[in-house]
């Protein structure tokens, strides 16, 4: 009974990790497209820098505040910070959509403030995702090779899912229009 519960827990944990890393990479690539439209092309891959910054900040947070992330409540932390990741993704993207930033008009105080706001809005969700991945890799007992493999497979498939959405959405829409 105990073994089957542990296996169930392990499978659920691995599935959760798979989906959180998929969502993280999907979001990161979507942000490159979003920033290319909202700002300019040279800032589009700023999304990658901010994702790495956010995830590193999340990892550092777990390392510096061990009392906030007790090892015995690792699954509880994973659950809570996944919710924070979801909520922050929603709120931060609303901020990006509703913040007009014209980089061609020079860098006055208002523009610098807006750029700071957008920078934080891009980075914050990844900080929560960084917390989740760090806890998964450092606090959950089990086969670390398997955990790391699920992390990487989830991330890789999340990237491909974004490409698939962007590349195939037109052909799918076109086919459905022709059929109708």
């Amino acid at each position: 009974m105990g073994t089957s519960t542990a296996q169930g827990t392990s499978r659920s944990f691995l599935a959760g990790l798979f989906f959180i890393t998929s969502a993280t990479l999907l979001l990161e690539i979507l942000n490159t497209r979003l920033l290319s439209v909202v700002t300019w092309y040279h800032l589009s891959f700023f999304a990658v820098s901010m994702a790495m910054f956010g995830m590193a900040a999340g990892a550092l947070w777990v390392y510096l505040k061990p009392r906030k992330f007790p090892r015995e409540d690792a699954f509880g932390s994973l659950y809570r910070y996944s919710i924070f990741f979801a909520l922050s993704t929603l709120v931060c993207h609303l901020i990006i959509l509703f913040t007009p930033l014209s980089t061609l008009e020079g860098w006055d105080a208002a523009n610098l403030l807006k750029m700071t706001l957008i920078t934080l809005a891009v980075a914050i969700p990844f900080a929560f995702s960084g917390v989740v991945v760090t806890i998964a890799l450092t606090q959950v007992p089990g086969n670390s090779g398997l955990i790391y493999a699920v992390d990487l497979i989830g991330a890789a498939l999340g990237s491909l899912a974004c490409l698939a959405l962007l590349v195939f959405s037109i052909s799918v829409a076109r086919r459905s229009r022709r059929q109708s």
């Binding site: 497209r33 290319s36 909202v38 092309y41 589009s44 994973l78 930033l101």
Partner: protein, 269 residues
């Protein structure tokens, strides 16, 4: 995906799943689809800091090569000239649709009824220069956009026109959603190719009397990288060598450009 992650982490924590998370995931997926269909839904409201007014007629695409926004058809004083020559006609009530890539690079989708006998205005535009020298030839247009260069090639009675376009959304507009508005796909001499121009010209055995690439700058980062614009591979020595190899004897290679201060260094670079 994140909601599913929450569901599974909750199951790992408590040993049970709250199916309300599944319902929320389904609701968010449906909500995203509904939002994409709504005129007043969440959109990029300020591309490059400029407010965009969406309407029921606005068509939006998100692709790996950039976001495409096709504005509703407007009756304007047309046609759109990149550079009008002396005596260029002005046509009242001409219908044009603005097509914008990533909130900046623009091209005009021009209404045309398919009657070549009445198609005369393209000859007054600066982009028609090669056709004054080489009419009735085999033409390759790199970067079809709204189809302006195809119209010019049709005015020049070109025997065969190959329109090479990297962005599938633009071909979807010209060949499907606005097919009858632009009447280009119906022309027997016009063939659209969905491909990267340098790759296509490397593979093809055809040679061309005119290869034209008019103002193809998108300033849109592709999925390949921030500074990997779709036009970057074309503005290279290797790209130009391929274009020269594909020219028939006495042919023309034409790269009209504008705003020299911004574009000229890239082209000579």
């Amino acid at each position: 995906m994140t909601v599913l992650a929450i569901l599974f982490f909750q199951r790992a924590k408590t040993g049970r799943s709250d199916l309300r998370w599944v319902a929320l995931a389904a609701a968010l997926t449906i909500g995203a689809f509904v939002n994409s269909q709504l005129t007043g839904g969440l959109r990029v409201f300020y591309p490059k800091g400029n407010e965009v007014a969406y309407s029921d007629q606005t068509i939006e695409y998100w692709t790996i090569h950039g976001q495409i926004l096709l504005s509703p058809a407007e009756e304007r004083v047309g046609p759109f000239y990149w550079g009008a020559g002396a005596g260029a006609p002005v046509i009242e009530g001409m219908k044009l649709q603005g097509l914008v890539i990533d909130g900046e690079a623009g091209t005009a989708v021009t209404q045309w009824d398919g009657n070549k006998d009445e198609l005369d205005w393209p000859r007054f535009d600066v982009t028609s220069l090669p056709y004054h020298l080489r009419k009735e030839g085999n033409v390759a247009v790199i970067g079809v956009g709204g189809g302006r260069d195809i119209l010019t090639a049709l005015w020049a009675k070109s025997k065969h026109i190959t329109g090479i376009e990297i962005n599938g959304a633009i071909l979807d507009i010209l060949q499907d959603r606005r097919r009858d508005f632009v009447s280009l796909d119906q022309q027997p001499e016009v063939q659209f190719v969905h491909d990267e121009a340098r790759s296509f010209l490397t593979r093809t055995d055809e040679t061309y009397d005119v290869i034209q690439m008019s103002l193809i700058d998108t300033w849109a980062a592709t999925g390949a990288g921030a500074f990997t614009l779709s036009e970057n591979g074309l503005y290279t020595v290797e790209g130009w060598q391929i274009f020269f190899d594909k020219l028939a004897p006495t042919a023309c290679l034409v790269f009209p450009g504008g705003i020299p201060r911004r574009r000229f260094p890239r082209q000579i670079g």
